[in-house]
Symmetry: C2
Subunit: 351 residues, 2 copies
């Protein structure tokens, strides 16, 4: 329990140290401000997450395993900050923040079953500890828990909107499934998947936080635009970390996306610029387990030499800027400042 609490503030301080290491002193100061602004809220959220109904069943242990691993809790941070753009963070906002994290965890539980994932957040996945069946029901359970909480807050429009957002998420999963195993390198399809799978829930986090803080629908729409761009930026950096990340820091298997033949943005750009790469990639993806590690590194270098990684980062930056631009009409103050910091950090993160 204490672990989850520390984890939440830990992320901020680890991001902060990353920035200091890189000599980004201004960024570090901004992060300290962000941390002090949401520290209490994040502790309340962590406490509520640690107090999920205690049941001894396999399904509930499976869900707890993932939730207790903590993670970045970026979506709850979005809820907290969005609420502070309005009248501030209260119990209802806490419950909305908990709900967004539970929905996120529910999708991870189902995703790990579908992708046969063995590692998550530097630990074994719930499915590898408790089995696929328990993870499927654990996802169902967290989804229902999330909806119950949102319902109980009675914050206007948040429940309908969440149901619609989950619908969008499932449609994106469906789209992604269809491209599976085929190395589908269509940018249009890529962005439709990202908008549904990643950006949609960020959008809801911002909308719900804003509504919880009493903002009107127009202000909430601006927050949603922030969430949409933040989500895309976040995913682009996630894609990038598959090629450029330090596995020790990210807790992920290196080249995991590449091994699975996932159409990440760097891959799409690289093949656009160097079409011959496609043959090489297809061979890798068809029998990833039979390939020597050096072949992955060679492909990675070839991708980098096309400038695809740089282009991916530039696009992430663009979306982070658009996210910030979306805030321009909102009442200025520390919360809007901090949201700007979130956007900046997202594109400079190393995990």
């Amino acid at each position: 329990m204490a672990l989850a609490k520390e984890e939440a503030t830990d992320v901020l301080s680890s991001l902060q140290s990353v920035c200091t290491r890189h000599g980004l002193e201004t960024m570090s100061a901004k992060l300290a401000e962000l941390a002090s602004l949401v520290q209490w809220d994040m502790q309340e959220i962590a406490k509520a997450l640690a107090e999920l109904p205690q049941r001894s069943g396999l399904v509930h242990r499976s869900a707890r395993h993932l939730v207790d691993l903590g993670g970045k809790r970026l979506r709850p941070i979005c809820v907290a900050l969005a609420s502070k753009v309005g009248s501030g963070f209260d119990e209802k906002c806490r419950d909305l923040a908990v709900a967004v994290e539970l929905v996120h965890c529910a999708t991870l539980l189902h995703d790990d079953v579908i992708d046969h994932g063995d590692r998550r957040r530097g630990s074994p996945t719930a499915r590898s500890l408790y089995g696929n069946a328990a993870s499927i029901f654990a996802g169902d359970w967290l989804l229902i828990e999330a909806l119950k909480r949102v319902r109980a807050t009675k914050v206007p429009d948040t429940l309908e909107r969440l149901l619609d957002i989950i619908d969008e998420m499932i449609a994106a999963e469906s789209l992604q499934l269809e491209g599976r195993g085929r190395l589908e390198l269509d940018p249009d399809r890529y962005f439709r998947v990202v908008e549904g799978k990643t950006a949609a829930l960020f959008r809801w986090a911002m909308f719900a936080g804003g509504r919880g803080g009493g903002l009107d629908l127009e202000q909430c729409r601006a927050l949603e635009r922030f969430g949409a761009h933040l989500g895309i930026a976040f995913q682009l950096v996630d894609d990038l970390l598959d090629y450029a990340g330090d596995a020790e820091v990210t807790g992920k298997v290196p080249f995991a996306d590449l091994r699975e033949g996932k159409a990440t943005y760097p891959l799409i750009v690289a093949v656009e610029r160097d079409p011959d790469l496609l043959g090489e990639l297809s061979a890798l993806v068809e029998r990833p387990d039979e390939q020597p590690e050096a072949r992955f590194t060679a492909v990675r270098d070839r991708i980098e030499s096309t400038g695809a990684l740089t282009r991916c980062h530039a696009l992430a930056l663009e979306h982070a800027n658009q996210a910030q631009a979306a805030l321009s009409g909102l009442p200025p103050g520390p919360a809007v400042e901090a949201l700007g910091t979130v956007a900046e950090t997202t594109v400079n993160r190393e995990l």
Copy 2:
């Protein structure tokens, strides 16, 4: 589409012909009354189910496949009849009835993934046509669709109650998972699983229909008691059909539960009465695919010789009677009569 519509009334007429065949003339007349009472409603429900949002994705095709297979639609019938105990069936009740069927289908989609089921309602399962991943998301989608519809009806208490019921269903799935592969023959555990997995959704169907028909909470509680007993009776007969059913009629693999080592009620009673049976069963369950068909038939005969099938049917009858008794305080009329018929038919069904 037309298919689903026919199926719904087909079930009533097929049940009816079963009864006629057995010389139960009175029962046949009662069923004709029941059929004429809900025929229009069931057509409306079938129409709405056929008009689920049309999307081309793998996930949505997977969901449609199961929904279009039709099935008995007993839960929607419960909603329709419960509403008619009150002010009657309207659009809202139709949506509640559609929702209960969608939740039921969602659980079947996830169950088939977990049990590696290949056949369902006499056809290949969605997962064997579209894959496990699509079926997992298809279940998620139907759940969300159901919740959206219930939410939109604004019928008091139905959404909270449904969220609680799904919670109970998941807890029961968890309990069942823990007993898997171990031939867990504890009657107490068995009934806890049945109450959660089967009876809970029947309870909600009755509650929601009653609420939709404007009945007060006390009247709805009586309807819920009916649903709880009906659900248990239904499951007991389902268990029985694994041993006694005609595979041509039920569309199920014979002895499927036995092969999976599922703790069905006949098995629990048989081992209580003939403890030596346990060794024989364990051997069967450990390597079901290596066993000659004759061995299953021999075990089936031995189970029957303990009187376990008769006992199971007697208990189903008891619950059907308790279901009928629960109706005693409700305003008498054709709907209450028809619910009585549903309870009677449930214990006399052959599919």
